[in-house]
Each structure stands twice: as C-alpha cells, then as structure tokens.
Subunit: 461 residues, 2 copies
C-alpha cells in the first residue's frame, strides 16, 4: 500500500480531539475484578465509594459496559489548551539506529505538568467542582501527578492538598514550587498532620516515605474533611478511561496515514499511560479484529508484572484503601531509594492485570542504567529530553527496532513518550557522572513483600 | 469582517514552516550601523570577522539588502522536529481579565531548550559543520542559549564549549546537566582556563561572573583554538535573521484567520526574540503598508532602551569583541544579582536600536515582582509556566488588555511567549514566599556605567 508522505509530527485538528473516552472494559469478556471492602471482602458499591471518590467518578469506576463515555465540554475546552498531542515519526532515531523499522511516538510532555497525567487530573477536578466540593487531596511521588492536579485545580478554583513523598519533597524542591505556583499546598509525607502519618513515623522514625504512605495520608484527610474527596493519578479504572484520549488520538492520527502499528509499547508503573495508549487498539484485539503486539515495560527494580502475584491487595501502606485485584509485590514493597523516577508503585492497574493474565499483552523489564543510556541517545537525535519513566518505553522501542535491523523487517513501532525529564536532572547527573546503579530485588526480598498480602481466599471472583 | 472561528491553538502545517528567513534590514531606509574594529574604528569586513564567526554567518551579518534568505534544507529538517510552534489564543486569560481585547501569543517553549533560542542555535551549528569546523564556543547566562546550542551541536556532531556565568552555574545545576546530557562541556565563568578569565579573577577575586565576562572567555577560546568559532545567541543581525522564523510563522497563522494584530509585544534582553517576532510586521510598517504598535518590554533593573545611550560600545566586559552601535548601559553595567531571569545584557540589538531610535517601536519597563505576579496569573489560567523573561511580555500584554477593558476597544494583542520557566523555580519560590524584590538602578549607578563607554566621536555613521 502506498502511504501518504508522513510528516515528522502528525497533529490532529482541534476539532478531532476526542469527544468521548474509550472504555476498553466494554470489550473485555472477563471484566477486571471489582474493588472490595477490606473488612467484608464484598465488592464496593458506589455508595461505599462516595466518601472517598467523587460521585460521577465512582460511576465511571464501576461502568464495565459503556464503550464510549462522553467527555464533558468543560474538559474538552481544557484539553484544547494542550491537546491534540502529536504523534511523532522518529526519523532521526531510525537513521541513527540504521533500522528498517518505522518508529512513532505519542508525545504527551508538551504541557506544564510535563506528562500525560493532566488528562485525568482535569477530569477529576471537573467532577469534584461539579459536585460542589471545596477541594481534593492526593499523593505524589516523582511529582508529575501532583503538578497536573495543581494545574487542574487552579483552573477550576478548587483547593488542592498534596502529600508528597518526603524524599521527593526534599530532592525535588522545584516540583514542589511548581505546585505552589499553581496554588496547591504541599506536605511532606509521612507527616504529623494525619493519624496514619503519625503512626508510620512512630514505627519508622527515619523514613523518607513512600507512595503507599502518602496515599494513606491523602485518603485520611479526604475522608475526614468536609467537602473534600481523594483523587488518584493511576491504577484506577477511571484513570485509564480518561487516559484513553491518548490512544484514541494516536489511532486517529495513524489511521489518517494508513499506518498500522505492529508493536505498541508503554512504560508501566500503575498503568495509566499504557492503559490509555492501548485502549482502542486493545479493543480491536479483544474483538478479534486486529492483532497487535503490546508490551509493558517496567523497571527491573519494581517488577509487578514480571515477578509479582495476581491477587487482591491494598493500594497503600497504611491499609486505609479498598483492596484491588492486581499484579502486586505487596503493599509494603518499596523499591530501592536509588531508583530514579516514578514507576515505583507496588501494584498495577486491575484492567491491565486482567489483560496480562489472559495473555493479551506481555511485559519486559529494564535496568535503569540502560534506560538512561537509551534516554540520552534519544535526546541527542530527537531533541526531546525524556522523563526516566518514559525512557523505559524508549529502551524497549530501541530494542525492537534493533531486532528489525537483524531480521530486515520494517515493522511499525508505536510507543508512548509520556513526559519530559526537566525535573529529573539529579538522576541524569548521576548517569552523566557514571554513578548510576540499579538494585534488582532478590527472590527473598520479594518473598518478604508477598508476606504482607492479605488472605482473600474467601473471595469468589 | 467575519472571522473564521479561531481555535485555541493555530498550528501551521509542516509544509508551511518558512523556507526563507525574513531580513528586515532590507526594508530599513537607515540600515543598522556596522560593527567596527575597536582599534581602527573602521567597519569590520567579512575577512576580519572570519576568525571569530563562521564564514556564511559573516555574510548574513553584513547582508542589509536581501529580504528573503533561503533556509538550508538540513535546518528545515531540524525545524520540523519542534516547529511550527503554535499561535495560541489566550481565551482563558481574556475571560479572567474580562477584557474585550483578543490576546494571542506565539509560544516558542515547546522544545527541550525551553525557548526560541534553538531557532538560531541550529542555524549557527549547521554553518559551522558545513565549514568543516570541529566545534564552537559560547557563553550562557540563564542557560537557555547554552542548552539550545548543546542540542544543536549534538545533532550535527560538533563539539560545544559553554562558558556559563558562575552564579548561574552554581544556582542552576540542572541547566548544566541538560547541557552535559547533550554532550557539551560547561565551564563556570570567569575561569582559570583563559587569559581574560584569569585577569578578571585577579581584578575581582570574589566575582560571580557576568554575561560580559563569559563572552570574553568564549571569544578568546574560539580565536585561539584551531577549528573553532564563536557563536552568540542574541544581539547580532544574523541571530535576528534566524529568529524571523517566529514572526513569519506568526504572521502566516494570523493571516489564515484574517487577524491583524494592533499591538505586538516582546521582551527584550539582547533583542533576539522581539526582533524575530516583529520582522515581517515591521517590514510592512517600514514600507508604509500597515501600522502596528510595537512594544519592547525590558526589566526595570536593566533598562537599555529606556535609560541607555545610543552609541558604539563593546559587547563584553573584557573588551575583546568588536564595537556595536546600540542602546547600551555600558559594558561594565551588571544588573543587581537579585534579578531573576535573563534579559541582563547591557546592550541591545543594533537593528532594534536603530528602529527604536527612529520611533518605529516603543519600550516600557517592568519590575520583577509585577512580572512574576503576571506570570502566576497567566500560568493558572493558561496552563503554561512561563519563563521570567517571557513574563515581561505577559505583564505588558495584560496591561494593554486592561486598557482595552477601560476603553471598550477589542484590540488584537500579539505577544511572544519565548519560553518556559522549569529551570527558574528558585525565582518562583522567592516570589511564592513573598521575598522577591527588584533593584532599579539609580541615576548615579547608570552614570558610572556610561563612563566605560569608549569614545567613538571620530566614527562617521
């Protein structure tokens, strides 16, 4: 088939920004397992979720059937400020690698939050505003989600309380200041301001915090403060739904040029980016219309898919959240402090976990020195300085392109470039100075993590 | 006239990226005064410039007649990686200000250098490569130019030696690491590695450096190292020429929608952004075809246009450069260290200086607390975290929009949003903490600066 000449960047028109999100759960024969109550082990109803999450988001969380969910106009308007994001043809990287493969990436970093997180942040802030709430609480690790939520809350005039993992709070003061510039309050976690925080501090006096701790604190504040709810930037079904805007745009752009990706690659921490990117493609695959090779890339230091267990577990360290059925390393698993970016969450999206379990996608791991090597190679030819998280996908895309060089195949490779690395220069500096290393957990370290997974053998699904 | 509905972002197609630069000097009846030799006070010939600058760049520096200068294909290819940049309609800011004015901004921050500087960096690196040079030297202050040049040199495989003003080198380690990631060597200036650096250190032992010092060092290394030339990110005619890509794109985009700007605003340090943005508009104005109100915004702490002298002066502290006729505060003028961004250069582009002197544009100043207030207001509604430099233009655009609110006029305001502020969070933090202040030079401080301007009363033009 003769292709239209493909530009460096395929931009959709503003009127081509999706008007509906794509809910891949509608295409799944085996739906993702529901969240369950940690005491009763019964599926959480919308009513039980509502003290934690905004009303309409609870509905989205539970809706396994509606394939196209309309994007409210107010959210569409906000999307217009930074979307559509381009699909970029990596001509310069292809040339550098001397590969017959065609490499494309969907670039989500061209907004001030620096990542795709804004796609869901604005949706969650919108529903909170619509419900008449005063504000929202959340946690942030590397800081991309917190920044995105601060921006979204500033836009709608909502208060925003961010619990930032203490080690990041101290090592990433600039991230903190961006959030403050957007009017958010930022508290290092664990803090003395919550019961769960005080308890964790008592038990582990010198702790520098973890995402799991920060989630516990944010949930506690949301459920104990009038007019507040908790919002989360990954893992949940609702988040993957909002992030489907990435995949729908990418598919529309590639369709316009008659390009069908053979391989689709995304980094995977909690799964928000990968789940969003693959949504409409996975829909076709689930319906048996097309076949795509789908690859999740996770850090070797936090290998939920490749070395975790598929079972119900807590989403947080303090055990204040519902249980989700997912690939997990145990809620007390904390990747070694020398890990440079996000992707440090112990669990994985229930939607992706189900799909992975059924063999609809595969997973690979990457070590961070290799990841930064790929990042630097990419930056020098493609111009964009990628986030460490995104660079996991770059590493895998380069590997696939080099395989094509061996075999002579000119496969179409699409990967998600989720964000930029401007706030990760401490990690780049370590790499530049040759001082980066990775810690791959030993089997016994993983076993210790698994011990904290609750017994849910009574659960039926 | 009925307008087409204007999208949030007007993106040109990739094939609409300009294929020629616009040389506004061709439209000037009174050409900018030539660079002169500091010893003989005679205009510098191309031959005399060639030990400092690349050959073709010398020609561009001297060409006052060719209106359209072709952009080499290799540069066009690089432009495709991050251009065209959008013209954004600031709908949300208009609504927030409740103004009848229509506000547009040309956003140049969506590339890893974080600013428009890449437009000229890639051109200068290209000509250096074409000439068969090994590398280039330069200085950087806030770091945007150094980053842009590092990226450009990485792309063409050139060595890149950056002298970074010492205070920035220490306060902006992340900027330094971005440059290193792109393979540049970064030396804090003044350094012991050059004669002029050693001399400055001897005279001022505790100095934290200045742009003028760093220029002196970079020029010395370029002229004393086989296969190297010096490149500069602002002030020069060639730089304004390359930056005309901003203005040509902006004009094409606005023309597509029948929008004629009444007011065009840009921040002005050395003049690269403003000169580029206004080029084709100023061409029409000089030819008497259209009238535009053109406003340069400079920091109150470094008021070259509004309080400087229009005369020949050195471009650097060490007095190793040729003399340029420009608005200047004297080559030893250094704005107070508490100034937060770039725009700290003592002089101004000779092209803009000539146009300003003849009344084709006006200039205003802004104090930095007001600038950061405008920046924060803008960020919260438009989503983009602006660089302090760019925020000077935002401040003036808001002022003009508020004037329209008073008069009820719906003027079209276009301003240049030159870059993003990710590496300026120390300054934002000061503002967030209420600790930002500005130092406006007193008349006697300015008089002291003027004393260092050389006597060029013998010069005829």
């Amino acid at each position: 088939m003769s292709e239209k000449e493909i530009p460096y960047k395929i931009y959709l028109r503003e009127d081509e920004i999706p008007k509906t999100w794509y809910n891949v759960r509608a295409d799944m024969k085996n739906k993702p397992a529901p969240l369950i109550h940690p005491g009763t082990h019964k599926p959480l109803s919308a009513e039980e979720m509502e003290p934690i999450f905004c009303r309409e988001l609870c509905e989205q969380e539970l809706d396994n059937d509606t394939r196209f969910i309309p994007i409210p106009e107010e959210i569409q308007d906000f999307y217009k400020m930074y979307r559509p994001s381009p699909v970029v043809r990596a001509y310069c990287l292809e040339k550098k690698l001397d590969t017959p493969a065609h490499i494309y990436y969907k670039f989500e970093g061209n907004n001030t939050s620096g990542s795709h997180k804004l796609n869901s942040a604005i949706a969650q802030a919108y529903y909170a505003k619509k419900q008449g709430l005063k504000g929202v609480t959340t946690e942030t690790g590397a800081g991309q989600w917190g920044t995105a939520l601060s921006m979204a809350c500033a836009y709608f005039g909502l208060d925003c309380k961010v619990f930032m993992v203490k080690v990041s709070y101290e090592q990433k003061p600039f991230r903190r200041e961006v959030m403050r510039t957007y009017g958010a309050s930022v508290t290092p976690s664990p803090s003395e301001t919550t019961e769960v925080g005080r308890k964790i501090l008592e038990e582990f006096p010198g702790t520098t915090g973890s995402l799991g701790c920060a989630i516990s604190e944010a949930v506690e504040v949301a459920t104990h403060t009038e007019g507040y709810r908790y919002v989360l930037g990954s893992v949940l079904n609702q988040v993957l739904l909002h992030q489907s805007v990435i995949g729908v745009e990418a598919k529309t752009a590639l369709d316009d040029y008659g390009v069908v990706p053979d391989i689709i690659i995304g980094c995977a921490g909690g799964g928000s980016n990968l789940g969003g990117l693959i949504s409409p493609f996975m829909g076709e695959k689930l319906r048996g219309e097309k076949d795509y090779e789908i690859i999740a890339v996770e850090p070797a230091s936090c290998p939920s898919f490749t070395r975790g267990k598929f079972t119900y577990d807590f989403c947080d360290t303090g055990h204040v959240t519902p249980l989700a059925k997912m690939y997990t390393l145990g809620s007390e698993f904390i990747p070694s402090a020398n890990h440079a970016g996000g992707l440090r969450f112990h669990g994985m999206s229930p939607v992706l976990s189900q799909l992975y379990d059924e063999g609809y996608m595969k997973a690979v791991t990457a070590e961070q020195t290799d990841v930064f090597k790929a990042a630097t190679e990419f930056a020098r030819v493609e111009g964009i300085l990628p986030a460490p998280e995104s660079s996991h996908a770059i590493k895998a895309a380069i590997d696939e392109a080099l395989k094509c060089k061996e075999t002579g195949e000119s496969k179409n490779i699409l990967f998600g470039l989720t964000g930029t690395g401007y706030f990760d220069m401490v990690a780049y500096q370590k790499f530049n100075d040759g001082q980066m290393e990775d810690h791959i957990p030993t089997d016994s370290e993983l076993e210790a993590g698994f011990k904290n997974i609750p017994d849910t053998s009574d659960v039926q699904f």
